[in-house]
Symmetry: C2
Subunit: 197 residues, 2 copies
DNA sequence: GATAATACGGAGTGCCGCTCCGGTACGACC
DNA sequence: GGTCGTACCGGAGCGGCACTCCGTATTATC
């Protein structure tokens, strides 16, 4: 990564090294903690303690919990966009590429407990990093749906946003319900509902 | 313990009138508050204050928040069971009776913000009033699905539990997402997924 | 090395679901 | 109607949460 060229535009800029170091530590600690106990159960104070940093520092770097979560999940959201690009580039297209992508989306949401609800509210976060990234995911979902429609795989009136909503709902069920492994079955039902007829 | 004889001699343990009165007040206050702000946002202390009762009293009558919610939503859950019975009794059956019932279920869950998550976890509440009532709803759902299957309206492998899960997921989306009125559309998609083919 | 800008740390705030216990008032029995 | 045991009440209090404030330590600049 090259030195930020826009430094000249800011008179007293230059992020201090300790600030950058602490930010990295916080992200690492949060990422680990989210993996262990889920985003919902992870307490902000615990994230700070694990990073060896005071709570105040955590809150200065991330104005609220959603912002921290956005930072953590942002990368794998980008991964979803990349996967979509790969699937769209493959020719001939895999027969069930849409299903593969939705399954990946569900896995991503399910990975951290409590993500589904925040994901569903992402449209509120307009302007935030999470909001922007969710919009990117919506865009690739629309592209995937368009491609699947061209191939006659899904009904003509399905939108990318609807697909994401359905996937989010299934993911939410997976983390909310106690019965194990209903996800695949529910996805089957959903895909029967959206396929071309 | 051989104390049963002594307690048995006291006829019917006589619930004190103030206890009964306070319980009624609590249920009324909770019902009103849930209608206004939703079950999630309603604080237990507020329920108690509104009922003109100390917090301790509230917690003695209902050991946790879910128990209070169970009491409040119990009646309309019973209503769902009754609606199912009516739909099953009608002959000839309404062409889309299953859809009508699911829509009612979704409306019921959606009415109070935060109910969907608790509903999805209902199977944990085995033995509780809410758990029992949810099981009753699952039973009528199974009956409805069986009838719809006889009529060739839904696919043969659909279970009542799956139907409820799908309905819960749609209801959750309705309360979690910001976009208005996606519910009917998503139900359309779901019903296309579960219908006979 | 002095100085000002900047970030740090952690005590503090308000709210949550929930608990505990001293005191109150209810209802049974005489 | 009086008295008495006790079921019930009220509310202070607990631990944990997301989040804030401000005195202090660290950093970059000269």
């Amino acid at each position: 990564m090259s030195r930020e060229a826009a430094e000249g535009s800011r008179p007293h800029a230059a992020v201090r090294t300790d600030a950058r170091r602490n930010r990295a530590r916080l992200i690492e600690a949060a990422s680990a903690l989210f993996d262990e106990v889920g985003a919902d159960a992870a307490a902000m104070n615990d994230v700070a303690r694990r990073a060896g940093v005071g709570p105040g520092t955590l809150w200065r770097h991330f104005p609220n919990k959603d912002a921290l979560i956005a930072e953590i999940v942002g990368e794998s959201l980008d991964g979803l966009a990349n996967l979509a690009a790969d699937l769209l580039d493959t020719s001939p297209p895999e027969p069930d590429f849409l299903r593969r992508w939705v399954a990946a989306l569900v896995r991503h949401i399910t990975r951290h407990q409590g993500l589904a609800a925040r994901f569903a509210r992402a449209s509120e976060h307009v302007g935030s990093p999470l909001g922007a990234r969710c919009q990117a995911v919506e865009q690739v979902a629309a592209d995937l749906v368009a491609r699947a429609r061209e191939l006659g795989q899904v009904r003509g009136d399905l939108t990318g946003a609807e697909l994401i909503r359905l996937a989010t709902a299934v993911a939410w069920l997976d983390e909310a319900a106690t019965e194990p492994d209903t996800t695949a079955r529910l996805l089957d039902l959903v895909f029967d509902g959206i396929r071309a007829r």
